[in-house]
């Protein structure tokens, strides 16, 4: 019911919305909860386990009951708190965990079985048969109990992530936070002021308190405007700091205002990582409910929430309101209700010494012990020394005192301290390095104390930043003492709720203690208290107080459970923003990409690179046809392949040769200028790291080639060797992988092609020679190297010409009966020649295993040499590289198959080795493979079983030399 008065709503802007299909109206500035209350809607959800009707409990992000689902399809968002959901035109919200409707829920029958459904029920009942848990029990229980659901569709709206940096991060923009921000801003610090609400002010927006002689909300708005105008202050509203991490990093979730989020290109939410040199936590406090029988009836709310709805949103949560508390807040609430013209049917103060100066029925030293009215509060029972009295009320404002919002101070394993004066936990100083606490979150509950505390905390933080705080000018404000008589649970029959969201009652906690779950962490897990989306914000302290009582210990001795990030729920879509689709990983495209795609080549990923798999021709229906044809180009005419993805490292300096001798197993200092040599590189542990060619371009100038896969690893390795192991060597290097577009021109007609294409004929460049050439006037590099076993070259031009050169080469090759070839053909060609890739040098093989043991030069030291000489790295029994061909009925080989003796069982105890690479060789008309076989070099000619357990295939294979084509290399050299 809306009442007169201004509040923080804009009555000139009505907003239409729907809840469970019905149309309602609210105002700009409303939350869904305030608008529903204004429309007389009290039941907003059903409870988790017992499906009891529930109304709104709070007016903030701690709300356990009023959770709704918004949006449809990919935009469906469950468990949105109605108390923080800003009303906007067209909003459609749906209640959750009910069927068929919120008013009549079939599973409310659970409530009747409550005596059986207490804590530990599932653990005890569904123990057997064991396999039933996953298949039957869990799905059924999950359907019966629960909150909202996701649609199962991938998110299509935009989310984003961003970084922010500041000198001082102020968390919370209530009186303490505003004072802290202004103090720091005046000292010249870069300030970020964050608040989860839509406006600054905190509790000042919910109370009738005055600050500096003006209404608190007005003072806060003026402060915020002053701060916003300063260039060194950034105010981030609608932003919740969700976690405190190492090194002054804070995670924060920003929800963009609806009208902003709807603009094209705008995100819904942004997950911030805020890097702050210092921080002030001014997060305020959360009011705690009191546990009494049926305290979850719709209409029972925290007193602070009642004041917030009254003062901020001008909504009376009832016509006939009772107030129950153990501090002066109860009286403040009654006074606000009276001032708003709402009838107060009873003011119950649990403190026996309490006095009342309001004209309302007053009960000192009494407690509310029951609540009636299943779909909405109708009456309450008051227990007094003289007996139980029933009083009519459609709303009960209750307050069990306040818990400082200290969650963030515990994110790095800090534990709070118990302060008996306020019957609450308070943060310990220094729990988060660089963070100081101020205001209600450290237990200062008066407005004046908050203002002072904010200024003081900022001064303290500024000192660590080397800045001087200005003289603080603390405005006049209320400064009353906090007088509390601890009250956790009212004794009596019936279920008294502690954790509203997970349906945990006083009885459940006591039951946990009876069953010896006495540790607070065990109690939590046994009862599930604090494990719902509100993370027990409303119930943690009360639950452990009940546990302390049940186990005969004190509250500080019982201790708290651990607060972990996030403070409030964060959508995974926000944390992973931008990391799906194209944002998942960067794409690296070669200069020939467009031309390859234009030829219809399917592009496959090689690391971040995209490379053509094969180039289909009209009429080809299977990739094998294309692959076979492309192998034929190279073996019979000329093929073109983009090999730019191989790592290229430019190495210069007086000690370049010596440096290469040190990182390669073989010698490079003796290589002649204009020549290329194949090199092998070991890791420090003696295993093979990478292989490739290295060309000597000048006396002190080399060009190293790495494999595509290990380009980054090799570069890192070279930096490590130079910086840490050989810092005195005068050598410098830089990657030129991207500088050059490089193409293999391979096949018997390769020289003819190049003679025609280059500005001058190739001449008699020897095998493993290199030199500078020009093509179309462009300076280029030519290497006579071969990965196919044919007479072949690699031609490199500056990358800007890559696209043009590839198109030219491909066209010319086609004119000679060849054409471009892809990764599939490249693979077949190298398998025929027994050339290795990282399928073979996969990190567990030694130089000896691949038959290159003699490449480790005896004349010099190199990285990995000593470790490679360890016994066991070259002794009999190791698996050695072999070639394999099928000889049984099954003609197909599969990589990953394991090798066994013909008469042995195919089990791991009999495993002799495995296949690493296979391909159909059109040259031989059969599959060929490479693999590793125990003592394989001595077993050429033997026939073994190759069993692929994964694909469930088996074939017989004959072991042979890895080099299966042109064993003497005549074709390469000619």
């Amino acid at each position: 019911m809306r009442i007169a008065g201004k509040g923080l709503i804009d009555r000139a802007r009505p907003v239409g919305f729907r809840f469970d299909g019905h149309r309602y109206e609210g105002f700009a500035g409303d939350t869904l909860a305030s608008a529903l209350l204004a429309n007389g809607i009290r039941v907003m959800g059903r409870s988790f386990k017992y499906h009891r009707p529930r109304g709104v409990l709070s007016a903030g992000s701690e709300e356990p009951n009023a959770l709704v689902t918004t949006g449809l399809g990919p935009a469906q968002e469950p468990n949105v708190r109605a108390t923080t959901l800003e009303l906007h035109e067209g909003l459609m919200a749906r209640s959750q965990n009910r069927w068929p409707s919120l008013g009549w829920d079939a599973l409310a029958v659970n409530d009747l079985f409550a005596p059986f459904l207490g804590a530990g029920f599932y653990y005890k009942t569904f123990m057997w048969p064991r396999r039933f848990w996953e298949r039957v029990y869990e799905p059924v229980i999950r359907r019966a109990a629960g909150l909202g659901a996701l649609s199962g569709e991938a998110v299509t709206q935009k989310y984003e992530r961003a970084w922010a940096h500041c000198d001082l991060l102020v968390i919370g923009a209530g009186p303490a936070g505003l004072m802290a921000a202004r103090t720091a801003a005046e000292a010249g610090a870069d300030v970020i002021l964050v608040d989860e609400d839509t406006v600054c002010g905190g509790r000042l927006n919910a109370e009738r308190l005055e600050v500096d002689g003006r209404p608190g909300a007005e003072w806060a708005a003026a402060m915020a405007a002053d701060l916003a105008a300063r260039p060194n202050v950034r105010i981030m509203t609608r932003t919740t700091v969700t976690g405190a991490y190492d090194g002054g990093v804070y995670g924060a979730l920003e929800r963009l205002a609806h009208d902003v989020a709807m603009r094209p290109g705008a995100p819904l939410e942004c997950f911030w990582r805020i890097n702050a040199r210092a921080a002030v936590l001014a997060a305020g406090a959360l009011e705690r409910p009191v546990a009494f029988a049926n305290n979850d009836r719709p209409g029972v709310m925290t007193a602070g929430a009642v004041r917030a709805y009254l003062n901020r949103w001008r909504v009376a949560p009832g016509r006939n309101v009772a107030v129950f508390g153990n501090t002066d807040d109860a009286h403040r609430t009654a006074a606000d209700l009276v001032a708003a013209g709402v009838h107060v049917s009873a003011l119950i103060d649990a403190r026996p010494h309490a006095r009342c100066d309001l004209d309302v029925p007053f009960y000192a030293g009494a407690q509310v012990c029951n609540a009636q009215g299943r779909h909405g509060l109708e009456a309450i029972s008051i227990a007094r020394a003289s007996g139980i009295e029933k009083v009519q009320a459609d709303c009960l404002a209750m307050s069990g005192g306040w818990n400082p919002t200290l969650h963030l101070t515990c994110h790095m394993n800090g534990r709070p301290a118990w302060n008996p004066d306020i019957a609450a936990f308070v943060p310990r100083d220094g729990a988060i390095p660089g963070m100081v606490t101020a205001g209600a979150c450290r237990g200062d509950f008066s407005t004046r104390a908050c203002l002072e505390g904010g200024a003081r905390a900022a001064a303290q933080a500024l000192e660590t930043l080397g800045l001087k705080a200005p003289e603080a000018d603390i405005p006049k404000a209320e400064d009353s003492a906090y007088d509390i008589a601890p009250l956790w649970a009212v004794p009596g029959k019936g279920r008294a709720w502690l954790d509203f969201q997970n349906d945990v009652t006083v009885k459940d906690v006591k039951q946990a203690a009876v069953e010896n779950f006495r540790s607070v962490e065990h109690m939590k897990r046994y009862t599930t208290q604090g494990m719902a989306t509100d993370q027990g914000k409303n119930s943690n302290v009360a639950a452990l107080a009940v546990l302390a009582d049940a186990t005969g210990r004190g509250i500080p001795e019982t201790g708290t459970t651990t607060f972990r990030p996030p403070y409030s729920p964060v959508a995974i879509a926000a944390m992973g923003a931008g990391a799906q689709g194209k944002g998942f990983a960067p794409e690296r495209f070669t200069t020939s990409h467009a031309a390859s795609v234009a030829r219809g080549a399917p592009m496959i990923e090689a690391g971040l690179w995209y490379r053509p798999s094969y180039f289909p021709k009209p009429g080809e229906t299977h990739w094998r046809q294309s692959c076979d044809r492309e192998v034929g180009y190279v073996r019979g005419a000329v093929g073109i392949a983009d090999v730019s993805t191989l790592g290229k490292i430019d190495i210069q300096g007086r000690d370049a040769g010596a440096f290469l001798d040190y990182v390669y197993t073989n010698t490079f200092s003796t290589l002649k200028v204009g020549r290329v040599r194949y090199g092998l590189m070991l890791r420090e542990d003696g295993f093979v790291m990478d292989d490739g060619t290295c060309a000597r371009l000048g006396e002190e100038h080399y060009l190293m080639t790495t494999t595509t896969a290990a380009a980054g690893q090799v570069m890192r390795h070279l930096e490590f060797v130079h910086q840490c192991l050989a810092p005195k060597m005068d050598v410098r290097f830089i990657s030129v992988t991207e500088q050059w577009a490089q193409f293999a021109v391979a096949g018997p007609k390769s020289r003819a092609l190049l003679d025609d294409l280059l500005d001058a004929p190739v001449g008699d460049m020897p095998f493993m020679g290199c030199g500078e050439v020009t093509v179309g006037g462009v300076a280029a590099r030519l290497f006579r190297i071969s990965f196919s076993g044919e007479h072949a070259y690699e031609l490199a031009v500056p990358a800007r010409y890559g696209d043009a050169l590839f198109r030219e080469l491909a066209a010319r090759a086609e004119g000679l009966g060849g054409g471009p070839y892809g990764m599939e053909a490249l693979n077949v060609l190298r398998i025929e020649k027994g050339f290795i890739t990282h399928a073979e040098i996969h990190g567990r093989v030694t130089a000896d295993d691949i038959g290159m043991g003699r490449m480790i030069s005896a004349k010099k030291d190199c990285i990995g040499k000593t470790m490679a000489a360890r016994p066991g790295l070259s002794e009999p029994g190791r698996e050695q590289l072999v070639g394999l061909k099928p000889v049984g009925a099954v003609k197909e080989l599969t990589a990953g198959a394991h090798l066994f003796e013909q008469d042995a069982q195919a089990v791991s105890a009999n495993d002799l080795g495995y296949l690493t690479s296979v391909g159909f060789s059109p040259t031989f008309g059969r599959f060929l493979g490479l693999g590793f076989l125990r003592d394989g070099r001595e077993r050429h000619g033997e026939v073994l079983r190759a069993v692929d357990h994964l694909r469930q295939t088996e074939t017989l294979v004959e072991v042979q030399d890895p080099v299966q084509f042109d064993a003497d290399g005549g074709r390469t050299r000619d």
């Binding site: 984003e160 290109g265 705008a266 690296r588 030129v736 500056p798």
Partner: protein, 183 residues
């Protein structure tokens, strides 16, 4: 003799505009890495000053002016952007042509640093990252070189092969910033 057509890394991808922000290609004619040999740092700096008018930059700094800059590029390394390097420099440093290795873009307009804050973890506040400051950093999963040319103007460099990804990531970031600004 055939004629090879040159293509720039952002060919067909840039410019991109969003609100007040504009990302355009700024491919310089020549980029050369300068890596001083052992003990030749000072001599290189002097030769650089004599030949091209700028000192060898300190870590995270750029020297020179529009058209001829030296940008710190890593441990004891700078990138000479603009001029053809003087042949005399080879006495003091390893010179390597990098002209085609990098995709170079210029981001300008109000909110440029905000757009970059979506992709880079660096503190880009005016006081911390001033004109002439540079960094090798992460930019949306890519290795990048980032230099503040002036107040709201930045040079962004990534490997040439990442050009398309950079354009995509920057477009998303720029649109977010523009949408928030309401333009």
């Amino acid at each position: 003799m055939i004629e090879l057509t040159a293509r720039t890394p952002f060919d067909g991808l840039l410019p991109i505009e969003a609100g007040a922000l504009r990302l355009s290609e700024a491919a310089p004619a020549r980029m050369t890495s300068l890596a001083p040999y052992r003990g030749r740092d000072k001599a290189l700096s002097e030769a650089l000053k004599a030949a091209h008018g700028m000192a060898f930059p300190a870590p995270n700094r750029a020297t020179g002016r529009e058209g001829a800059r030296a940008v710190w590029f890593g441990q004891r390394m700078a990138l000479l952007i603009g001029p053809e390097p003087d042949a005399g420099l080879t006495e003091f440093a390893a010179l390597t042509d990098q002209s085609d290795a990098w995709a170079v873009a210029r981001l300008e307009g109000e909110g440029a640093a905000e757009a970059l804050a979506r992709l880079a973890p660096l503190d880009l506040r005016e006081g911390a990252f001033k004109r002439g400051h540079t960094a090798r950093t992460e930019l949306g999963h890519m290795h990048a070189s980032l230099t503040r040319i002036s107040g709201e103007s930045w040079r962004i460099m990534v490997f040439r092969a990442f050009a398309r990804t950079l354009a995509h990531e920057m477009r998303e970031a720029m649109q977010s910033v523009a949408a928030r600004a309401g333009v």
